[in-house]
């Protein structure tokens, strides 16, 4: 029999984990979901965020989340550079789908291998006062190292959603995602807006990376596990919708956590990816997708 408190704990932990997954996926929802730029190198940028947090934490004892937020402008610029490169090499030439994908795949791989060469394959971790203790409510445990990233992720998703729906550039990004041709007729350049959007998308990696290294020790190849999760959530959430993405992230977190609680952690990766395969095969428009 399944014991009730185990199940409730698994669900709560799954929701917390799902919040973190949402933080990781915000960027891809913007770049891939809205703008059709299949940036499968996103995990490499997230890992870069992890190692930035690791270094500042080791040198000056800085709080990883603070580092994550402080580093966002640099990641923003990095994202704009990557998009410029992508634009000149692929988008301008027209339909070069395979080459564009191969470009990001190469980027992912180069990022991972560079990190291996610099930091080695040892697990790295950070120190912060909230890693370790947890809050107990009845028989439900809320570990702070999961709770902080989850709350942070909710704030992040909220800010992004507000920015996209309320600000001028945010609305322009949504407009590009709906009809770039029409936007051009309004005398706005889709390229410039896309550049900003990809910048934002990579900037979120800085914060998401700091969350990741709080949640678990990090080594360069773990980024790979996140490719499937990120894209599974993005597709499951209906590609363009932030609330849909959040729901999908929580769902994946809960399913994954229940699987690892009751069947063992070695099965949990298959759950995420199996869910992705089934979603892609059965309902490619996602849970809350348009259509």
């Amino acid at each position: 029999m399944i014991s009730l408190d185990l199940l409730v704990n698994a669900i709560v932990a799954g929701i917390l984990l799902g919040g973190f997954y949402a933080a990781v996926t915000v960027g891809v929802t913007i770049s891939f979901g809205m703008l059709d730029i299949a940036n499968i190198a996103q995990p490499a940028f997230i890992l870069l965020g992890c190692y930035a947090a690791y270094l500042t934490n080791g040198w000056w004892g800085l709080d990883p989340i603070v580092t994550g937020i402080v580093m966002t402008p640099f990641f923003f610029v990095l994202g704009m550079v990557v998009y410029r490169l992508y634009y000149y090499a692929f988008e301008r030439r027209g339909d070069q789908a395979i080459q564009g994908l191969a470009f990001f795949f190469g980027l992912l791989f180069v990022g991972e291998v560079s990190l291996v060469l610099i930091f080695g394959v040892d697990y790295r971790f950070v120190e912060a006062p909230y890693i370790g203790p947890s809050i107990h409510i009845g028989w439900v445990d809320l570990p702070l190292r999961m709770l902080f990233p989850c709350i942070g992720a909710l704030i992040m998703v909220g800010i992004t959603q507000l920015y996209l729906t309320r600000s001028f550039i945010g609305r322009a990004i949504l407009a590009v995602s709906q009809d770039p041709g029409a936007l051009q007729l309004m005398a706005a350049s889709p390229t410039k807006i896309k550049q900003i959007a990809v910048g934002i998308s990579i900037a979120t990696c800085s914060v998401a990376g700091s969350f990741l290294i709080i949640i678990q020790p990090v080594e360069p190849s773990i980024g790979r596990d996140y490719i499937g999760r990120i894209f599974a959530i993005c597709v499951l959430g209906g590609m363009t919708s932030m609330p849909g993405m959040l729901v999908a992230a929580m769902l994946l977190g809960v399913v994954e956590n229940i699987t690892s609680t009751f069947y063992g952690p070695s099965w949990s990766p298959a759950v995420a990816f199996g869910l992705l395969l089934v979603t892609l095969a059965v309902r490619p428009s996602g849970l809350l997708g348009r259509q």
Binding site: Q96, A102, V113, S114, F231, A270
Partner: protein, 333 residues
């Protein structure tokens, strides 16, 4: 060149090369390195049938490759299992049979992937194949009969057919597979099948509208591609002697099998061969410290592959074949 004629030449070249090498070179290391390069010729040619001809990017090479390898492990352990369970005595299964079976199993998985993803275009297909490789890896990790996450030791038979050591035997088999893979790729390229693949790559909807049976062709493409990858993986347990999920599903297989055709040239059978020989040799020579007398760590080799991949897709999207073609074209005019 007619197809039959090309096959004959290909076999003759392969045979002469293998016989000459085996007469001239006795250093075992040469065969270990040559095996890897030949294996990459098979993998990148197989990848190109789906990726280059049909236009579907497969990042799951590792899955098909490892399924071939693990089907060999199962067949290697089968005689002992049958003896213990039913007292049935069967002789050890010969390697060529394992290669055929491995190819069939991976081909079936390719067919399944094709069915599962038949509604997916471009990026989604690529992501689905990445997901597939993780799902298959998780299944293998949790399957204790084939060693689970700890891996499995396979002892090479002491005696090898065709004379010479076992590694020479593996090398010869892999050379044969490379010949077959390249022959298949070229035959497809010159056939109606190849025309259909190209139509799908250029515009799937237009192809469907003009009466190209896109679904059937896609399934054929995924099956052939997956099957060849499985064949390339089948001898792997005997090559490395200790097979574990982390190394057999390594991302380097996926990266190399994407990078080699892209760097060589996507639309031509010779492209993946050039790419595989070039990148494969660089990696093998780098590992033994051929350049500057420095032994370059394997991770650094992979960094070079990744950087070359990025460089080529940006500067020369049609690969070396494309560069040569545009150079020849310019000279003629």
């Amino acid at each position: 060149m007619r197809n039959g004629f090309f096959w004959a030449i290909l076999f003759a070249v392969g045979l002469i090369l293998v016989v000459a090498l085996r007469l001239l070179i006795s250093n075992d290391y040469f065969y270990f390195a040559g095996y890897v390069i030949l294996q990459y010729i098979v993998l990148s040619t197989a990848w190109n049938i789906l990726g280059g001809y049909t236009g579907y990017t497969n990042f799951g090479t590792g899955a098909f490759f490892a399924v071939g390898a693990y089907s060999s492990v199962v067949m290697h352990k089968l005689p002992a299992l049958l003896l213990a369970a039913f007292q049935w005595k069967i002789p050890p299964i010969p390697l060529p049979v394992m290669i055929l079976v491995g190819g069939c199993v991976s081909g079936l998985i390719g067919l399944g992937t094709g069915y599962l993803t038949l509604r997916l275009r471009g990026v989604f297909f690529a992501i689905a194949t990445l997901a597939l490789s993780i799902v298959v890896q998780t299944l293998i990790v949790n399957w204790s009969f084939v060693g689970g996450s700890r891996g499995v030791y396979i002892i090479r038979p002491a005696m090898a057919p065709l004379g010479g050591g076992y590694i020479q035997y593996l090398f010869t088999l892999m050379a044969l597979m490379a010949v077959i893979a390249v022959g298949i790729a070229r035959s497809i390229e010159r056939s109606r099948l190849g025309l259909g693949f190209h139509a799908i790559r250029d515009d799937e909807q237009a192809a469907e509208a003009s009466g190209v049976p896109t679904l059937r062709l896609k399934l054929i493409s995924t099956t052939i591609s997956g099957g060849l990858m499985g064949m390339a993986g089948a001898p792997l347990p005997y090559y490395i002697a200790h097979l574990d999920p982390t190394s057999s599903f390594d991302l380097q297989y996926a990266v190399n099998s994407v990078a080699m055709p892209v760097i060589g040239g996507l639309t031509n059978w010779i492209g993946p061969v050039i790419g595989a020989i070039l990148l494969g040799s660089i990696q093998q020579l780098g590992t033994v410290g051929f350049f500057l007398d420095l032994s370059i760590p394997p991770t650094f080799n992979l960094l070079i592959v990744g950087l070359l991949l990025i460089l080529f897709v940006i500067i020369a999207p049609n690969g070396i074949v494309g560069l040569v073609r545009s150079w020849l074209g310019r000279r003629e005019t």
